[in-house]
Amino acid sequence: MIRYIYGNELQNWPTLARGMFRDRATQFHDRLGWDVHVDEAGEERDEYDAMNPLYVIWEDADGRHGGSMRFLPTTGRTMVNDHFLFLTDGVRIESPLIWECTRFCLAPRPEPRTAAALMLAGGDIMTGFGVKHFVGVFDGLMQRVYRRIGSSPDVLGETGTGRARLCVGLWEYSVEARGRLSEGSGIPEHQSRDWFEQAFGHPAKRDVSHAA
């Protein structure tokens, strides 16, 4: 299932958190050879993890990290504005209606539906929080995954070659893409929506108007 967890709540999810940071080390450090920091526990973290991002995590049937991505609002500091302006024509992408999505990561042997489930969750964020676009930083392998699951971003620019290839791309809400993701992952759209509602509160269960 999909979990939505802010950075300051990760302590309540030790298995998922450890799995996520370790799988990130495997993907970005070991497999792609990026110059990222891996600590003694084998966990990869960067400065943006310290900014209380919102993590969207696929938790597999055993309760382990299957894949994840990280969101930050573009009104604060973001990776794309700090480091990749040369890939956006020099445009600082900044708006409360645009969120940044980075560190999209899959566990070494993920369930096949993991990537699609995460992108479905991205659509729930857009409709649930009024977000119009995501700007993402991702690697070349991920680009292929996005294409395969039918949720290709619009690539603004890319740098590096081979394993070091890195892209900046944009997503916006698409009903068609959502249908493809749901079909491909076998996760009904209402199920995805339920996970979102579960994370951010069921209004029916906390009816303010009757509480007083």
Partner: protein, 242 residues
């Protein structure tokens, strides 16, 4: 809830926010905004790192002093639930289950805050954090209809207030006025000349989706509500010349 006038009226309120020189000006703007949306209250609330509270809003003086006197900041589910977050929140979705939270709610309703609310948490530069909240007395269906209709406008207005508050903050470091990048200037200029989005995208050799993102970024930097207002502002401020 009263009828909500069009974006023209909202835009003129945003102009007032933009031109505000003092907290008093912001206070007038927030009162107009409340009337515009026809809700009971709107509050912009910034709690600084050292616990200093700052802002403007339409709550009664009695409620504001009671809130301070009772140190409700420590139990208010809106503050607790939004702190360090960045997604907009309907108050119904917060955790009101504890006894202090329920007592707080009862007191708030008794002071006319309303039984419904919607808050936009704002994460500004350097860890700055603020909350922009609307509250109202109505049934769930009416409130849900209102918040879903105005969802994005509420987010944009919240950020407009925050931008001005940052500017008015006493002792704040001088910041360079936010300029548009050459690419954004190109996009806005072509739009101002009456080109269609497809034509602009093609002239700039970018996709229409990329163009939408550049326009959205420019809109935010110009503090406008929509593309038309953004182009008008870019022109009036001399960012673009046609």
């Amino acid at each position: 809830m009263g009828s909500v006038a069009g974006t023209t009226s909202l835009n003129s309120i945003l102009e007032c926010v933009e031109h505000a020189d003092t907290l008093t000006d912001l206070q007038q703007a927030i009162e107009r905004l409340r009337d515009h949306f026809g809700v009971d209250h709107i509050v912009y609330h910034w709690v600084s790192a050292d616990g200093e509270q700052y802002g403007c809003g339409t709550y009664s003086i009695e409620w504001v002093s009671r809130y301070l006197e009772k140190t409700y900041l420590r139990v208010d589910p809106v503050v607790l639930g939004c702190y360090q977050r960045f997604h907009p929140v309907d108050w119904k979705r917060l955790d009101w289950s504890s006894k202090p939270a329920r007592d707080f709610l009862e007191d708030a309703i008794a002071h006319g805050v309303g039984n419904q609310g919607f808050s936009v948490p704002i994460r500004g530069p350097n860890g700055q954090y603020a909350l922009f909240s609307l509250s109202h007395s109505s049934d769930d269906a009416t409130w849900d209809e209102f918040t879903s209709t105005h969802h994005r406008d509420l987010i944009l207005v919240a950020h407009a207030f925050n931008r001005k508050a940052l500017e008015l903050e006493p002792g704040r470091a001088q910041e360079v006025a936010q300029a548009l990048s050459p690419r954004e200037v190109d996009a806005m200029t072509l739009l101002a000349l009456g080109y269609s989005r497809a034509q602009v995208a093609s002239s700039l050799s970018i996709s229409e989706h990329t163009l939408r993102v550049y326009i959205e970024s420019a809109r935010h930097k110009l503090g406008a509500l929509n593309t038309v207002h953004a182009v008008a502002r870019a022109l009036s401020r001399g960012f673009i010349v046609i």
